[in-house]
């Protein structure tokens, strides 16, 4: 219906919420394959979050890392599978979705004023002996005020903009193929020289993996963290 509009103006309550929205947008069921298929829009969204506090970003990065692992595994099935049991993103997402669904039901109940149960409010009789509660002091009072003000701070909503322009793996592959037409060998460093964002670097790397999978190129790397040389087969 108005799915496309929704995703652009939605406030995400966390990385799993974002993942679910991306899947819903594409009308995909939850599976390892579908999840890894939304890796790029997820990363692009992260890119738009750059200004957000590190603390909030870290939860998104955890999921991003899982997504990249899933994605690279789907591209390179021979990759070491030791960590497989640690991902389980699809299972986590399924359970999370159940809670989200039931939370909508609770929300309806919450908003139904006609169902609020009342306590009995006894008539007020002031105590004959007034005692000082142990934790009642100037310190606790002003601390409590500071906390309250923190709470009243309007929530810093995650950016509502959802970047449409996604650098896709496919675009990168096309670009690499073109470069490999002109030169027999291409340096990965050079490939990412013009990258404008971290996402683009990651997507470039995924494109390289895809090309290997398709048996189009071979890689050569002389030392760890050294440059990677791509050559056409």
């Amino acid at each position: 219906m108005k799915n496309n509009l929704q995703i652009q103006s939605k406030e995400f309550s966390g990385p799993l919420d974002l993942l679910l929205s991306l899947l819903d947008e594409k009308k995909m069921e939850i599976s390892e394959i579908s999840i890894s298929a939304v890796t790029e829009p997820f990363l692009n969204y992260l890119e738009s979050l750059e200004e957000i506090e590190a603390e909030e970003l870290s939860d998104f990065l955890v999921v991003a890392a899982k997504l990249l692992l899933l994605k690279s595994r789907s591209l390179l099935p021979q990759i070491d599978n030791d960590e497989e049991s640690d991902i389980n993103l699809d299972e986590q997402l399924r359970l999370y979705r159940r809670f989200v669904e039931v939370s909508h039901k609770l929300h309806k109940m919450w908003l139904d004023e006609k169902k609020t149960a009342y306590p009995h409010i006894e008539e007020i009789k002031k105590a004959t002996e007034i005692v000082r509660p142990i934790n009642f002091s100037l310190e606790t009072l002003s601390q409590s005020m500071v906390q309250l003000l923190k709470r009243l701070q309007p929530p810093k909503a995650l950016p509502r903009t959802y970047i449409d322009k996604t650098i896709t793996i496919k675009e990168k592959i096309d670009k690499m193929k073109e470069m490999l037409k002109a030169n027999k060998k291409v340096s990965f460093k050079k490939l990412i020289e013009t990258a404008t964002s971290r996402t683009e670097v990651i997507v470039s790397f995924l494109a390289v993996l895809e090309l290997i999978k398709q048996n189009d190129i071979v890689l050569r790397q002389d030392e760890s963290f050294g440059d990677i040389e791509l050559s056409k087969i």
Partner: protein, 183 residues
Amino acid sequence: MDIVSVLESVLFVASKPLSIKKIAKSLDVSLSEVENALDALLNKYTDISGVHLVILEDNVQLVSNPNNTEFVEKFVKIEFKEDLTKAQLETLTVVAYRGPITRPEIENIRGVNCAVILRNLLIRGLVNEYEDSEHLLPVYELSIDALRFLGVSDITELPDYESLHSNELLENKKDEENILSTN
């Protein structure tokens, strides 16, 4: 509508004597229906019950069994020696920095109902409630005892009183309140 059940709920929540005639009118049932329901409730709230149904002329009320007063008071006293809960402390804070303040104003700032908490603070003697000509509703402020416990003689001696009292976030909440009440 189950009249017995509804009547029981109404008496339980009301906490004050209600006129039997008015109950019949409000619930849109006959007087005898209310009287029959009261008879049914009298069977439930017997002499040994912890809650008694008191009927006096046209008035009816649920009250706690007077025989248990001693235990109830002991219980309440022990409760008061305990720490304030976080919610109580926050309510007290709002009353301290923003008082005199009405209950809806406090609730608007805290985002949650404060009736029970205010009642507890009143019973504990930490806040005072009084009628004020400026407000239609009762207003609350810190009691002299509370000030004494804090070791200050005047509310303005609270830490950062000026800046916190007139904090923008609290003022915004007040504006919201005004908007709401004009609806």
